[in-house]
């Protein structure tokens, strides 16, 4: 078995020499040097990468997924469901972190598991987050949390508290404001909409809005223009498009809304939520929340941003010093 594994590893290393998935070839992060007392890490999802960065673990990262921000300048190791094993082995991380949406983590690639079983690296599987509470658990849960996985529960707790405080403070600015009916679209050209029971619905409520399709009682659905006109009738339309451009006059993304006499269209209250992690439940959720709250309550924009910025200072004062 060990011989077979050795052969497999040798083959993978040779394959890894072919630069199929280019990235900095020396594997050195563009930030500072990794702390030798902490594990070096390959993250296979952008949500985990973001959480690690917010825990102050940026320098420990030696590899990331292909969905991660390229500006990190780290070697790319495929994705959570299709990792480039050769590249991971080549980087020699102490720890590989990936996500699973299955309770038994059965969707983790078997080769990744067998290499971990053979001690090539340690593998930790974090449960995929579907709510703000899930993100908090992903940081600090004793069994499946990032903090225990990398042996730094303090930083994980700090990141969790900071995220929770940012959300609370932003929510406190808008919670007494009138709540507009909001339609969240993930695909404006086909009117693909976000309903209830999902993270973005939770964020919308915290941003001081109500979901205009709450009565449909479903997570995601495709709407018809007639439904939009007669039953949905949103005051504001948010288009969730990570990295998307601002809307322009005669924007093709708004073609499906033309000719409708709903408040959002009549008052031209539509906006693109552009945050790169707008669709990923991670510690970046408070930033997405700020973007949403500013669109829904433009009269309170300055206060919303101040509340977000104040959170770190408040946390430092209340916990008597810096976390990460």
């Amino acid at each position: 078995m060990r011989f077979a594994l050795f052969c497999l590893l040798a083959g993978l290393l040779l394959a890894g020499c072919d630069d199929l998935n280019p990235g900095p070839s020396d594997g050195t992060p563009s930030g500072g040097q990794p702390d030798p007392d902490k594990p070096t890490i390959v993250s296979l999802t952008p949500a985990i990468t973001q959480m690690l960065i917010d825990m102050g673990m940026r320098d420990q990262l030696v590899g990331v997924s292909k969905e991660d921000d390229a500006s990190l300048g780290l070697p790319v190791c495929g994705s959570y469901n299709n990792p480039v094993i050769a590249r991971i082995v080549e980087l020699q991380p102490d720890l590989v972190l990936t996500e699973s949406s299955q309770p038994d983590a059965s969707d983790v690639p078997p080769l990744l598991r067998s290499l971990a079983d053979e001690g090539v690296f340690e593998l930790r599987v974090i449960a995929h987050s579907r709510s703000i509470a899930d993100v908090e658990r992903a940081l600090t849960d004793a069994n499946k949390g990032l903090g225990p996985a990398i042996g730094d529960t303090e930083s994980a707790e700090w990141a969790r508290k900071l995220m929770a405080l940012r959300i609370d403070l932003v929510n406190s600015v808008v919670k007494d404001a009138p709540k507009p009916r909001v339609l969240m679209l993930i695909n404006p050209s086909t009117l693909g909409a976000i309903g209830t029971g999902v993270t973005h619905d939770e964020l919308l409520r915290l941003a001081g809005g109500t979901n205009a399709i709450a009565s449909f009682d479903t997570g995601y659905l495709t709407l018809d223009r007639a439904q939009l006109q007669q039953t949905v009738r949103p005051d504001v339309i948010l288009i969730l498009e990570p990295g998307g451009s601002e809307l322009t006059d005669n924007d093709p993304r708004l073609r499906a809304l033309e000719g409708l006499t709903v408040p959002a269209v009549m008052n031209r209250r539509f906006s693109v939520i552009q945050h790169p992690q707008a669709m990923l439940p991670s510690t970046a959720l408070p930033e997405v929340l700020v973007e949403m709250a500013v669109v829904l309550h433009p009269d309170r924009a300055a206060a919303i941003r101040e509340a977000y910025d104040a959170a770190e200072k408040v946390l430092e004062q209340t916990s008597g010093g810096g976390g990460s």
Partner: protein, 331 residues
């Protein structure tokens, strides 16, 4: 065909179309019956627009199916067999992917679809010619191969793009969906193109009848077979591209509408073209009504892409139509 059978056949076709159009006016995602009240005018406009778009797509697919079946002398030929739908899909995906990489606005997906369709058509045309004449078998084979290549390239771009709007948009487009938007210049142009090509094919109807014979016999009867093949290929391609641009790939309509029309009206191409166009429109409008009815009765399901309906309904219907043919290959 006897006079009584002729009257019954046309009555059934007209009844099917009129029923579909009336159902379209009376059934919507927000209610059943004629719309009254505050938003009645806009809601009826939306139903009329959807009716028009569905009818255009149905006519384009059905007429394209008739032309291709005549061109290939193959009753199983259908509009997507030449790889045009996957070509359009590849164009849309490439346009979106380039925009994503270069940080441009995505723009209207029609541009990519047109480019992909034209490029595929060009390759099909050039690769299937032998001594300046289109080879029927070659055309089929090149179409199948190009479909596979286009499909692989779509998957490659899909993989490289990662999750997001581009992947979601393509997934929905591939299911076949009437676009949710008001009628625009694109739809008016599509209606014009369909009308012109239908009239043109009707004009060529007698030549198409003769072309069902052997090439030499057809030429002896005064039909320039090479030129006719080229014209049929171009007409079918433009009609397919028009349908794909508006609604994505919608299965079976281009196969079933000509078959049903042929069963009722016989093989003569002039009545066949008109009958297939009417049945194609009726089929697509009915599928769209079904999609709206589900959205009304089960709001949490939302609007189901009509391509799913046409495949679910069209597949079994086609199998039923195939029954007399099944087993003949063993003889």
């Amino acid at each position: 065909m006897s006079r009584s059978r002729f009257v019954v056949a046309w009555s059934v076709i007209v009844l099917a179309l009129v029923s579909a159009l009336i159902a379209r006016l009376l059934i919507g995602s927000t209610g059943i019956g004629w719309q009254t009240g505050e938003h009645a005018e806009i809601l009826m406009d939306i139903r009329l627009q959807r009716m028009a778009v569905a009818a255009i797509v149905g006519i384009a697919l059905a007429v394209s199916g008739v032309a291709l079946q005549a061109l290939l002398r193959n009753p199983l030929a259908e509009p997507y067999i030449l790889g045009l739908s996957t070509g359009a899909g590849l164009g849309i995906m490439a346009q979106g992917y380039l925009a994503l990489q270069l940080g441009w606005a995505t723009g209207a997906s029609g541009l990519g679809a047109v480019a992909g369709t034209v490029l595929t058509l060009g390759i099909v045309f050039l690769a299937s010619r032998r001594n300046g004449v289109i080879d029927r078998l070659g055309l089929l084979l090149v179409g199948v191969v190009l479909s596979t290549i286009n499909g692989a390239l779509i998957m490659l771009l899909n993989y490289l793009a990662g999750p997001g709007v581009l992947r979601d948009g393509l997934a929905q487009w591939m299911m076949g969906m009437l676009q949710v938007r008001p009628l625009g210049r694109q739809d008016v142009a599509a209606a014009g193109v369909c009308s012109l090509l239908l009239v043109f094919l009707l004009w060529q109807g007698r030549a198409m009848d003769v072309a069902t014979l052997d090439d030499d016999e057809a030429m002896a009867m005064g039909v320039h077979v090479g030129r006719l093949k080229l014209l049929l290929l171009l007409a079918a391609s433009v009609l397919t591209a028009t349908a794909v641009l508006i609604a994505g790939p919608i299965a079976f309509v281009g196969l079933i509408a000509p078959h049903l029309a042929r069963l009722m009206l016989g093989p003569s191409h002039r009545p066949l073209l008109v009958g297939a166009a009417m049945l194609g429109a009726a089929l697509l409008v009915t599928a769209d009504v079904a999609s709206d009815a589900v959205a009304y009765l089960q709001p949490s399901v939302g609007l189901i892409p009509i391509g799913i309906f046409t495949a679910i309904i069209g597949g079994p219907v086609f199998l039923w139509m195939l029954r007399p043919q099944l087993g003949r290959g063993m003889e």
